[in-house]
Each structure stands twice: as C-alpha cells, then as structure tokens.
C-alpha cells in the first residue's frame, strides 16, 4: 500500500511540476475564468428582476444558476479530456513506451492522473466561485455543505470513467475521439449548463437523464441554492450512483482493451 501511495505521489508531483512550469497558461486560465463569468453576469443582468418560472426552483437568479453550470462543465472537461490528452502527449513524446514497459500498471498511472484532475479541476471550480461570489455577487443563501463532497466524488468518478473511454479511443485511433466530442456537445446542450433541463421537450429531458453532468448540476444547484436535504437529493443521488456503476467499469474495461489491442497491433508507439 505504501508503495502504491508513493507511486501516486511521484506521478502527481510530475504533473504539478509540469503545470507550474507553464506560468503563462495558468495566468490565461485565471483571465478566462474572469471574462467567462463576467459575460454571464451581464447576460443575467438583462433578465434581472423578471420572474422566470423555470428558475423558480433555483431562487430565480440566473447568474447564480449559470455559474454552477459553467464551473462544473469546466470540471467535466478537465476530467474528460485530460486522460485523452495525456495518452496523446505520452505517445508523441515517447514516454508511453517507457511507462508501459514498467511493472507499474497503467491503471495506477491513470488513477494518479485522476487525482491530479480532481486537484486541478477543483482549483478551477474554486476560481469560478471566488470570482462569481466575491466579485460578481452570485448568491448561494442555503448551502448543504455535507452533500457537496459526495456530489464531487460521484462527478469525478463519472467524468473520469468517460475520460478513460476517451483515452481508449486515442490509444486505438490516435486522433479523432468521438466520445469527447459527443459528451462535450451533449453536456453543453442537454446537461443543463446554460439553461434548466426542464426547458427542453420531454424526449430531450429523457436523453439528458443519461448524461452525468445533468445530475452533477441539478444536485449542486439544489444543494447550493435551495439548501436541499439529503432526503430531497436522494432520488438524483441514487440515479447518479447507478450511472457511475456502469460508466466507471466501462471506462476501465475499454481502456484495458485499448491498451491490449495496441500491444497486439504493435501501435503503442504510433501517433
């Protein structure tokens, strides 16, 4: 166990040093958070003071509603795209061969990446909320703090499960990952990032029920804006957990299949 934790630490340290060495990227990300949040702040001002029935469940304030959407869609993107990007980078730089010829399981390497995603994605989330709450007066009056860690863990599991499927596609096809494109599109359109899912026709709402971010956003909004109790959140929690039970093993299995197939095809070094 100690060895596994040491390996995870060393891998996360690598990610941290690499990230820290790109100072301009970090600066640009802060600016992006500020600009992106401000755009929605001003859009929300257009509707300020109007009664929008779809937002009643969320306290009627569009900016507080959409801030959760954009912050968590960023978290989703970090979790989803980092795996595929990592595989692609390791293929191009030639480090993938060395990693795969080591006795350490590639799944442990990916687990460390998942933890890093959580830290890095978490930092993004905090930035959005710091900017939104302290600079742009987003309002979260009754937060169910106890529910938040559970929502984050389930979201992380689901997003990273999809990320592993995405990485599997990159392992096999090198470029052109349909999962990432489809989920990003579906999440933005159907998952309730910019508008409540309830606005859409019944059929689209049914499809949205199979997209993880739908649950992340609804749970987070209910927990942060309405201060919903665990009992009130239980229905979404159960469905989200069931979704994770399918997505996470699917991610692990598909990624394992992709690695084995690349070993068989002799294409691990290709990119």
């Amino acid at each position: 166990m100690k060895t596994i934790l040491w390996k995870i630490y060393v891998l996360i340290r690598r990610d941290f040093i690499e990230e820290l060495s790109y100072r301009m990227k970090f600066l640009i990300e802060i600016v992006t958070v500020i600009v992106y949040s401000s755009i929605f702040y001003f859009i929300a001002k257009v509707f300020a003071g109007q009664q929008v029935p779809y937002l009643e469940r969320y306290g009627g304030d569009y900016f507080s509603f959409v801030l959760i959407g954009i912050a968590f869609s960023g978290f989703l993107n970090v979790g989803m795209s980092t795996f595929a990007n990592t595989i692609r980078n390791e293929q191009v730089t030639g480090t993938l061969e060395i990693l795969l010829s080591s006795p350490t399981s590639i799944h442990l390497v990916m687990t460390a990446r998942m933890i890093w995603n959580f830290i890095y994605g978490g930092l993004h989330l905090i930035m959005y909320f710091v900017v939104g709450v302290f600079l742009l007066s987003a309002n979260y009056p009754a937060v169910n703090w106890a529910a938040i860690p559970l929502i984050l863990i389930l979201s992380l599991a689901a997003f990273n499960g999809i990320g592993m499927i995405s990485a599997g596609f990159i392992m096999i096809f090198k470029r052109g990952d349909p999962i990432n494109v489809f989920i990003s599109f579906a999440s933005a359109f159907l998952g309730g990032v910019f508008f409540p899912v309830e606005v859409m026709p019944a059929l689209l709402q049914k499809i949205a029920a199979f997209i993880p971010i739908t649950y992340t956003l609804r749970l987070m909004r209910d927990a942060c804006i309405s201060g919903a109790s665990f009992a009130e959140l239980s229905h979404d929690f159960i469905f989200f957990a069931i979704l994770c039970v399918f997505i996470v093993p699917a991610g692990i299995l598909f990624f394992s299949y992709a690695v084995n197939r690349a070993r068989r095809d002799g294409t691990i070094t290709h990119y």
């Binding site: 061969e97 010829s101 084995n260």
Partner: protein
C-alpha cells in the same frame, strides 16, 4: 536468460487511401533467438528488418502473433510484469523524458515506477549520475540537455531498477563521433564487463555491432540469417548481399 522461439509478427498498416484496405508487413517471420546470461548480443539489420520489433516483444510492449518468448525464466506473454521487473529498455528516442522535469526528477519518477526501493533510489541516482558523467546537470530540466546527455540519461534510466537484462534500441543514435564511441565503451566496458548485465543492442551500424565485442545476429526480413562473431563488417555485408540480392540498396548500413 532470453529464449525466443519461432516468433512471428505481422503488422497491418492502413494505406494512405482509406478505401484500399490495409497493407500487411511481416516484421518477424519465425525468428528464433537466445542470449546467455552476462553476454552481449548485437542485432543488426536494415531499417525495417525487425530489430526494434524484437526488442519491443522482449520488453512486452508488443505481443507476437505466434511463438514463445521466455525472459529470465518467465513467459513474456503470461507473466509480463515479472519480465518488466527484470528488463530495462532504451528506445533510442531522446524525447522519451518529461522535459520540464529535471534529470533527477525523471529518474525518481521512472525508478519508482520500476519498483526501485525508495531507500536505494537516491544513492542509485547519485551513482549513475557519476557513472554517466551527468554531474550538476542532473538537477537541470531535461529540455536543457544535449542529445548526448539525453542518451546517457536513457542508459541511467534503464539501469535505475538494476535489471538483469538491458534492451537497447540504437543507444548511440544521433551522437557525434566522440560521444558515439564513448557510449559504446560505456555499454561494453561498464554495463557488460563491470555490471555483468545481459545486453541486447539493436543497431544498423555494422562496425558498432562488431566493436561491441559480443555475438552478432544478422536479421533480414524478419529472419535470422547469421549468428556469430565476425571480425570485419564486410563479412556481414557479403552475407546480407547474398541473402537478399534483390535489395540492392544497402544505404541502411553505415560502414564508418
């Protein structure tokens, strides 16, 4: 130590025309090979002869279509992790490091992934740094290294977990003549003679193969066409010309 029997590997490469299907290339065609403990074997052949494929099969990166591969008493297909613990790989690709990390950080990372005991890691890095003349540069980011330093760092990484077998794919690629000779001396005099490691080197340079002083295995079109200890590169060249006279282009070989 290494016993490979009748290995066949076929690659299906998609053509440029997406409607034309894939092209099949035989990388290894019933290739058999063995290496004794503490010995050095140089695999020589044209570009695309199957040398790198063989090294990748021995390091479990590629699974052969048929045949048996036994490394240090372990079946490479059934017990790949045991094989990986006992082998070190140099890919000849100087990019195969995290360039933003220092040489030391890279060695700590790869050493850890190769199950080097934590208590021995720093001592081993210091020893390898001294051995390969990396000096203070070990604490500098790899992106600041010259090609020669990266190649030496590759060898250091390969030895970090003290493997029994080293698989070196073009370990002197891209080095200037002085560093080239030094790199070969390191392999021959330190790794093989002093450390008594079993080494398999893939190269297309006939003189390098001979100067390493071990057994030379000549590969052509995925088959072994010669095994022995030739004294002159011309002997190998003559064998190759006689084996496949249709391939008149011998530019893949470097006689210098």
């Amino acid at each position: 130590m290494i016993d490979a029997e009748n290995i066949t590997k076929l690659f299906r490469v998609p053509g440029l025309n997406p409607f034309a299907g894939s092209v099949e290339t035989t990388a290894l065609d019933g290739f058999s090979f063995n290496a004794e403990q503490g010995g050095l074997t140089a695999l020589v052949g044209r570009n695309g002869a199957g040398k790198s494929t063989l090294l990748r099969i021995l390091s479990t990166l590629i699974v052969p279509d048929s045949g048996k591969v036994n490394v240090c008493g372990f079946d490479a297909m059934r017990k790949p992790v045991e094989v990986r613990r006992r082998t070190g790989l140099v890919t000849g690709d100087e990019r195969s490091f995290y360039w933003r990390l220092s040489g030391r950080d890279n060695l700590v990372l790869f050493g850890t992934l190769y199950d080097t005991p934590r208590s021995k890691l720093n001592k081993r890095i210091d020893r390898l740094t001294e051995l390969f003349g990396l000096g203070e540069s070990i604490n500098m980011p790899v992106r600041t290294y010259s090609s020669g330093m990266k190649q030496r760092l590759s060898l250091a990484r390969c030895l970090i977990h003290d493997p029994e077998i080293l698989l070196l794919d073009e370990p002197a690629r891209g080095l200037d003549p002085i560093l080239h000779i030094k790199q070969l001396q390191l392999i021959r005099d330190i790794i093989v003679k002093e450390f008594k490691r079993t080494v398999v080197v893939a190269t297309h340079n006939l003189d390098d193969a001979i100067s390493l002083g071990g057994n030379v295995v000549l590969i052509d079109s995925g088959r072994q066409i010669y095994s022995g200890k030739p004294e002159r590169a011309e002997e190998l060249l003559a064998i190759l010309k006689n084996t496949s006279p249709e391939k008149e282009d011998i530019s893949g070989f470097n006689l210098l």
